[in-house]
Symmetry: none
Subunit: 134 residues, 4 copies
DNA sequence: GTGGTCTAGACCACG
DNA sequence: GTGGTCTAGACCACC
């Protein structure tokens, strides 16, 4: 399970962590009952402070997606996959919508926007493909 | 000239104002030599404090896009259109790229992402079209 | 009588005008009983707004250096030369003191400061000489 | 590291803070990688509001002299010493030049100006010496 | 009327 | 604890 964090995004890091865990559960990379990486394990992986990770986990726990197993760690709940699949769609769609609303407000023509979108879309797909090869 | 500000975006309001003015100059809605709305005029239009607007203007001045006419207001510089057209492309592209990178990291399939993008794209275009009809 | 105004100085323009008139009286360029340039005459000479000039004159009148001759203009008072010679010394000395205090706080060595001062001193003298030749 | 701020100067306090930090880096009092005083620490030291200090730091960050260490403070960048040594010279020279230009425009003779300068120069040097003795 | 500066204090994100 | 953002409102310089 990779965590793709964008430090220069205006989106707070703890929210990005929440999103990444949500994506992991939605995609099945993190399965029900599985222990997710501990705060101390994840912090260096995402180049963040342990407190920042802890805050993300706290939020995930509050929304019922993970639960504390005392002395063991945090575990993916049974209800998580369903919650996370819906949430994933919502997060991705919202972010895309905001970006496109801004693009529309820039007075670039629909054609230019479409061109930009296509360029970036093939770029991320390209990136994914090359990653899959490794 | 409309100012499209998203108060719930993680992007700071003053940066959104910077972007909107940049878009206005890039699109020609704000012309060289023209006085842009005063701090006190714009603040209620974007539902922000005059100081927040002033900070945005300060940043635009620093980048050479507008210049202070003492006692009169802020004027669009001759160099602004060129600077702003480049900057517009950069802002829009960056925002789209971030949204699509996140989408890619969500493990949604390229097809699903494309579908979401198309839905949102037609939605903003639709919004524009309906605006134009009014 | 020349008016040497520095628009990029942090010193307000109206204070610079006050200083320049003071200097003119101290040096004898503006004599007792002489009418000084009207607000409307001076404004374009110093590239300032008439109100700014008016404010400077108001301040000079308050300090007894010039007086209104109704229907004629502003006149240099009998008491002015003495007042202005003292004031000139004070203005010049204060400005030099502030600049040198800042230089001292920069941790440049006294030798370096002395060198900077000498360079600038010969520059302004050189400037004056070339002006005198015209 | 002392911060020498002149509240009655026409130079804005935040610019004076920028200058003082620049001087500190140029002189080596603030070293690369070192955390500079926090906004909340410096504010009472210079008798200014934390926001005024923050504005100065923001400007220093913009010019690449300091960088934010999230949650820790502001750090002197590797590029800073070179930038600041050049900037220091420029700041000091500009301020001296403006003071001497004004002196020249006062019609005081070069000899009188030189005398004033020497008096003030020995005064600040004297101040420094007496400080060093303490 | 304009923008520029400063003080003041709130809240947030992050460590 | 740190800096970043925002609101709020004062005063100033200039037009």
């Amino acid at each position: 399970m990779l965590f793709d964090i964008e430090p220069n995004s205006p989106v707070p890091i703890y929210e990005q962590i929440v999103a990444q865990v949500t994506f992991g559960i939605a995609s099945g990379a993190l399965e029900v009952g599985m222990l997710i990486p501990s705060v101390r394990e994840l912090a260096p992986m995402v180049l963040a402070h342990p407190n920042t990770v802890a805050r993300a986990y706290q939020e995930l726990e509050r929304s019922g997606v993970i639960a504390t197993r005392r002395g063991k760690g945090m575990e993916v709940t049974a209800a998580a996959p369903q919650l996370c699949r819906a949430k994933r769609q919502e997060i991705v769609r919202d972010r895309i919508r905001l970006a496109l609303r801004e693009a529309a407000s820039s007075q670039l023509s629909p054609e230019e926007i479409r061109k930009l979108v296509d360029e970036e879309l093939s770029r991320v797909n390209g990136t994914n493909r090359s990653r899959e090869k490794r």
